[in-house]
């Protein structure tokens, strides 16, 4: 029976800074953000009251359309990343055991390099006289350079390029722990490859899929640097609007309100997507 003296409290004294740090620098600022978006101040900096004015300011077509653009970007990015990453993860987990370390290594090296340099690298490939155009013309497929850059295409390419490892790694780690015998059993019982996939493999690794999906979906929503650099800054996203308001003069609280508003939208869509994906991956016999 440990004596409950003060000196036995020292582990608390030592261990607590992490929690203090977290509360002070993570939760307090978020709370401040939330509260600040509701409060109003008069011109002479006196507190006047609580209102939803700052929120209703953003209830207009242009800002709602900005949020919708971000949602669309995040969703399409997540789906494309999934479609590319899943076969790769599948291969690495089941068929390429001996190469998995090598494949993972080459996957992580670009992942651990500054993403702005990757943006820069893609300029070289997608430019008018860049690698891709030169290749296509050399192969005789095209005679005129195609404009790839400063378009939605370029933005999507870079988004997928950057976010793919985020979805691949969780899916891979959950597939890695998969019991191969289950697949064998399924084949022995006469199921086709597609049936095995959708009734055995997908449902059992749904946790990895969901983790990976949201690891892409949520950050993509707040992305603004890639559309600016690759998309010619032709379209505004949530991040762009937020940075304009936050870094502007006396509009900081509006930026806060817009951030809170977008987060609410993000939360709702994430929940909806979560349940949808859950439903999709269930192995009920009557569905697809």
């Amino acid at each position: 029976m440990k004596k409950k003296t003060l000196s036995s409290e020292y582990p608390f004294a030592i261990g607590i800074p992490a929690v203090i740090w977290q509360i002070l620098f993570f939760y307090a600022p978020l709370l401040l953000l939330l509260v600040g978006s509701f409060l109003t101040w008069s011109d002479t900096n006196t507190f006047t009251g609580v209102s939803l004015d700052k929120f209703t300011f953003f209830f207009r077509g242009s800002y709602l359309s900005v949020i919708a653009s971000s949602l669309l970007l995040a969703l399409s990015n997540s789906i494309i990343c999934f479609l590319i990453a899943y076969p790769l993860a599948y291969f690495m987990a089941f068929k390429g055991r001996k190469w998995q370390n090598l494949l993972l290594f080459f996957l992580i090296v670009p992942f651990w390099t500054n993403f702005l340099l990757h943006v820069y690298a893609w300029f070289f490939v997608l430019e008018r006289e860049g690698f891709l155009n030169t290749l296509l013309q050399w192969l005789g497929i095209t005679s005129e350079p195609i404009i790839f850059l400063n378009s939605t295409f370029a933005t999507m390419v870079m988004m997928v390029y950057y976010y793919m490892p985020f979805i691949l790694l969780p899916m891979y780690s959950s597939l890695e722990k998969f019991d191969v015998k289950l697949i064998e059993a399924s084949y022995d019982l006469g199921a086709s490859w597609l049936q095995t996939l959708r009734k055995i493999v997908l449902p059992l690794c749904s946790r990895g899929i969901k983790t990976g999906f949201f690891l892409v979906f949520i950050p993509s929503f707040g992305e603004f640097a890639i559309p600016e650099l690759m998309g010619g800054d032709r379209r505004m996203f949530v991040g762009t609007v937020v940075s304009q308001f936050i870094l502007g003069d006396e509009t900081g609280s509006f930026g806060a309100a817009f951030t809170v508003f977008s987060c609410v939208v993000l939360l709702i869509s994430s929940l909806a997507l979560y349940f949808f994906i859950d439903w999709l991956l269930k192995p009920k016999a009557t569905r697809w």
Binding site: K4, L6, E9, F12, A13, I16, P17, I20, W21, L24, R60, G61, S62, Y63, L64, S65, V66, S69, E127, R128, E129, I147, L149, N150, G232, D233, R234, R235, M236, T240, V241, Q244, L247, G248, D249, T251
Partner: protein
């Protein structure tokens, strides 16, 4: 009970420690390097070689910090009440705002040996009529960057129509990314030199910019020259310095002044009120306005210097020569950038343009 007290004490200790660390820079601010100045500037306005030479010659260390817009400068200066910086480089209208907010220090012109070399056309403008607080450093003019190859067999009139007229445009253009400039140019194209815009006029400006959006390849003031050099866009609206950088390397890049008139910006140097190192700053200024420095800045960045004694050192092409030697009359036709509408309106228009959603303004107001 004792446990709760102890835990509270522990938490308070850690909080105190953290707070001290956080506010440390503020406390030690005053005791930093005495023989140095803090310069707050645009990213590409001060030639690093000139700065390095100055440091070597005088031994005064120059700390450079960067901002990317006048608004950022004003916000940051207001937030710190001008503390922390010894030299700033605001544009014309920003000087006016800073003077109004009482953030600039009056200059002691006796310390500045180069005053008589300054181009008189750049002095005495609306933002600082006696140049009590600011010295013009360089100026640039807005115009159309053109790809000559594209217009070899096509008629070319130097006009704002090249970026606004739907009957003329069947190519991609590069547009400025600053909403204030965009609104100003659109208004100038539609209504000429006009200050008070009515509601229908505001709406028309918004609609013009929305219409223009379909032709714009990139909204970027900074990369205008790159767009021309890579032949991505045959027409780009940009300020002269960006184009001049590329003109030297690419013979097909040309610069035209729109015949209806155009805009200029003058970048000025000023000293924040809270600075205590004016003597060091004056040394820096005298160095910065020397012949060699002016020529170096033109060579590196392409802006027209405010001093008149460096022309023999600069390699001026005919167009630059003509512009630099503008007569008083010609100069008076150039307009300054100003905010035609309240900030909120401009911001709303800009979000409209870039969100892809069209909406009627008149219904809202």
């Amino acid at each position: 009970m004792k446990k709760i007290l102890f835990r509270s004490a522990v938490i308070s200790f850690w909080l105190l420690l953290l707070i001290t660390i956080l506010y440390w820079p503020k406390i030690t601010w005053q005791t930093t390097d005495k023989n140095s100045i803090n310069v707050f500037a645009w990213g590409d306005i001060l030639d690093p070689d000139v700065v390095k030479d100055f440091e070597k010659t005088t031994g005064i260390k120059v700390h450079l910090n960067y901002y990317s817009s006048n608004e950022e400068l004003i916000v940051k200066l207001k937030a710190t009440h001008g503390e922390g910086y010894d030299l700033i480089i605001p544009s014309d209208y920003a000087v006016q705002i800073l003077i109004r907010e009482n953030l600039l220090k009056p200059l002691d012109k006796t310390q500045l040996h180069f005053w008589n070399t300054l181009n008189p056309l750049l002095l005495g403008h609306f933002y600082d009529p006696d140049n009590r607080y600011s010295i013009p450093f360089e100026w640039e003019i807005y115009g159309l960057g053109i790809d000559k190859d594209y217009f070899q067999n096509r008629p070319l009139t130097p006009s704002w129509r090249l970026i606004f007229d739907p009957n003329l445009i069947d190519y991609r253009i590069g547009m400025v990314n600053d909403p204030i400039e965009a609104v100003l140019f659109a208004s100038f194209y539609l209504y000429g030199d006009q200050n008070n815009l009515s509601l229908p006029q505001q709406y028309a400006i918004g609609q013009l910019l929305i219409q223009q959006h379909q032709w714009v390849a990139v909204y970027a003031s900074f990369r205008a020259d790159y767009l021309l050099a890579t032949k991505n866009c045959p027409v780009v609206i940009a300020s002269s310095s960006y184009i001049w950088r590329t003109m030297r390397n690419y013979p097909y890049v040309h610069f035209l002044i729109p015949e209806e008139g155009t805009f200029i910006t003058i970048e000025n140097l000023g000293i924040p009120l809270a600075s205590t190192k004016e003597d060091l700053v004056y040394q820096f200024l005298n160095y910065l306005y020397s012949k060699e420095s002016s020529a170096a800045h033109f060579a590196t960045y392409g802006f027209f210097p405010s001093t008149t004694h460096a022309y023999d050192l600069m390699h001026l092409d005919p167009l630059a020569d003509q512009l630099i030697h503008s007569s008083k009359e010609q100069f008076s036709k150039y307009h300054f950038i100003q905010e035609l509408l309240p900030e909120e309106e401009i911001r709303n228009i800009w979000v409209e343009v870039k969100s892809g959603y069209s909406e009627s303004y008149c219904e809202l107001h």
